[in-house]
């Protein structure tokens, strides 16, 4: 297990390097620099000075090495030393749009909010999707199953950008029960969590139902029933561990969609998460912000995917760490 983890983690290093290079080059391929919309008309001297300050006048490969923080520079005493900062030292650089902030500042401010929202929605999706899936599997073929199945399909056909505004209209504007926007008290989190999590709850309930239906055909379930165990005990104690596997393997793409799906929900509810920074960075060509956020999210995702794989193999006794 320890060996397996080390190997997987070691495999992440080249992967993340490739991602950083790809996103770095992609972002810089675009014509038009981040300072094009500055208080025009800036004189060519000022422009050159700004570009020199952020090293935008250097060749691309030097910029990339500098971004990573491994570009050797003369140290003024005839020797060489590595340049300051750099991703490898945990410094994602300055933001070009938010002049007084570094990308690290923005992440420190926004990431906890986005992650909290994502985590809450994840719990909401599991907490409603799994029981609904189990219930419909147990009532297979009855009207409760059809109704539950329809609710599940409906849930994943109603994206957050529909649920969000409708919930706001209903519970905030009409009924005044819950706040319409912002991120201040636990009550502020309720509507965004539902808006983000509903889609995934639908998906999970379907997967849970399919998984449980498969498992119910297995011999050991019949054995458990033959031993005289109650239906609830058979389902939960014997079936759940295997039946939940499709849900667990869906958790990888689910987490990816949750993290990025939260951008829309953040924008609906004016939540100060990462989303607004990403959109603004894309619109204003804020190189370091775009590359930095892509990298951080890629890191998050590959680590979460690794976690999902580990959980999967812990649950399924048939999987061996190879």
């Amino acid at each position: 297990m320890g060996h397996y983890l080390t190997r997987r983690l070691a495999g992440l290093v080249p992967l993340l390097l490739v991602i950083s290079l790809a996103s770095f080059l992609l972002v810089r391929m675009a014509p038009g620099g981040p300072f094009d919309k500055e208080r025009a008309p800036a004189s060519p001297e000022i422009r050159r000075a700004i570009e020199a300050k952020y090293h935008l006048d250097e060749p691309r490969w030097r910029q990339y090495l500098r971004y990573l923080g491994v570009l050797p520079e003369p140290d003024g005493r005839g020797g060489w030393r590595l340049c300051d900062g750099g991703v490898l030292k945990g410094d994602l650089g300055p933001s070009f749009k938010y002049r007084n902030h570094t990308v690290n500042d923005v992440l420190a401010q926004g990431l906890p909010v986005s992650m909290t929202l994502g985590g809450l929605a994840f719990l909401f999706a599991l907490g409603t999707g799994i029981p609904l899936g189990l219930y419909t599997a147990a009532r297979r073929g009855e009207w409760a199953d059809h109704l539950g199945g329809f609710v599940a399909i409906l849930a994943f056909c109603i994206p957050g950008l529909v649920v969000g505004p409708v919930l706001v209209m209903l519970f905030a504007v009409e009924l005044h029960w819950l706040p319409a926007a912002l991120w201040e008290s636990p009550a502020h989190a309720i509507l965004p969590t539902i808006a983000l999590g509903l889609y995934f709850a639908g998906r999970i309930s379907r997967l849970m139902r399919e998984g449980m239906t498969e498992v119910m055909r297995e011999g050991f379930m019949t054995t458990a029933k033959a031993k005289g165990l109650g239906e609830r005990s058979v389902l939960l104690r014997h079936g759940l561990r295997l039946a939940i596997l499709p849900v667990v393997s869906y958790c990888g793409p689910l987490l990816a969609d949750l993290l990025t799906g939260s951008f829309v929900v953040e924008s609906i509810f004016r939540i100060p998460g990462i989303g607004v920074f990403l959109v603004n960075a894309a619109l204003s060509n804020d190189y370091p912000m775009l590359v930095g956020l892509t990298l951080v999210y890629a890191c998050l995702l590959v680590v979460l995917n690794l976690l999902v794989d580990v959980v999967y193999s812990l649950l399924d006794p048939r999987v061996k760490f190879a």
């Binding site: 992609l26 409906l154 529909v162 969000g164 990816a256 799906g261 894309a282 956020l293 890629a298």
Partner: protein
């Protein structure tokens, strides 16, 4: 009577009421989108004095902040959303089938590499990549179109649509590649492939004539399920203001416009509810059709 697999699939599909309903809805919507410009008195971008008019006889879906007829805008949005969904899914099928079929047929190191690439892309935050792709490549092409080719501004605006097709297709082909590879892998070792190889058929001919016709069922099924996913992505991007640009509209941007008008004093519910209802109904219909096709083409399916 023995039925061919296709006849059996069609027979099963016809018995699936939700799937049939979904297909009927999509057909009606597509027809409506096509004939609408000749039927309606209002253009989708035509402004008027009647701002925020609730749904009524003149404007069935009401009007928006610029006095534009919402029904016309919703139907124009349908055109954009459906176009992006279908063309994007087409792009995804093209890439996914080629990638998966070549990897599965050639096998060995190439297969290994191709599938590692899929694994890597699978674990990436795809929507962020689309955002980066859209904003950077679009700017490149905009400069190229207006600078080098001297195209008029309107044509350059349409370029965005092309990028939505390409970008959204380019992140949605991974599942397709995996499934096609698996199918090709299992078909490759069958005797009919050996036979045609012995008769002198080259790899391209074997792939196109003997392998792909055997897997088109599953390709159709997954293509149908890719369309709603792409429509959703598009509405996400347009909601964030990164997709379709005004005065064009898609369902995502219409909902965003409606949400922007949400205030405690007056509720313009129609601005949100109508585009949202269209989006949800279309997604439902596509999912029903996709599920219906999956059940219809499922070889394990019961014979009734």
């Amino acid at each position: 009577m023995t039925l061919t697999p296709n006849q059996r699939a069609w027979r099963r599909f016809r018995r699936n009421r939700p799937a049939l309903l979904g297909a009927a809805f999509l057909l009606c919507l597509a027809t409506l989108v096509l004939v609408w410009p000749w039927v309606t008195p209002y253009g989708f971008a035509q402004t008027s004095e009647a701002r925020f008019e609730p749904p009524g006889l003149h404007h069935w879906f009401g009007t928006d902040v610029h006095g534009r007829d919402l029904l016309s805008r919703v139907i124009f949005g349908a055109r954009v959303s459906l176009l992006v969904g279908f063309v994007g899914a087409g792009v995804a099928v093209l890439i996914g089938v080629t990638w998966g079929a070549v990897a599965g047929y050639v096998g060995g190191l190439l297969d290994h590499l191709a599938m590692r690439v899929v694994d890597v892309l699978y674990s990436l935050p795809s929507i962020i990549f689309v955002i980066v792709l859209l904003t950077t490549l679009e700017r490149t092409v905009r400069v190229f179109l207006s600078g080098t080719l001297h195209l008029p501004a309107a044509a350059v605006g349409q370029a965005r649509l092309l990028f939505l097709f390409a970008g959204l297709g380019a992140i949605s082909w991974l599942n397709m590649a995996r499934i096609v590879r698996g199918q090709v892998l299992s078909l490759r070792s069958r005797t009919f492939v050996d036979a045609s190889h012995a008769l002198g058929a080259g790899p391209v001919r074997i792939l196109l004539r003997h392998l792909l016709p055997n897997i088109y069922g599953i390709v159709i099924v997954y293509a149908t399920l890719t369309i709603p996913a792409i429509i959703l992505y598009e509405s996400f991007l347009s909601y964030l203001g990164l997709g379709i640009q005004p005065p064009m509209a898609s369902w995502g941007s219409l909902i965003a416009d409606g949400a922007a008008q949400l205030n405690p004093i007056r509720v313009y519910w129609w601005l949100i509810l109508f585009p949202a209802a269209m989006l949800v109904t279309t997604l439902l219909a596509l999912n029903f059709v996709g599920d219906g096709l999956r059940d219809a083409f499922d070889p394990r399916g019961r014979e009734e």
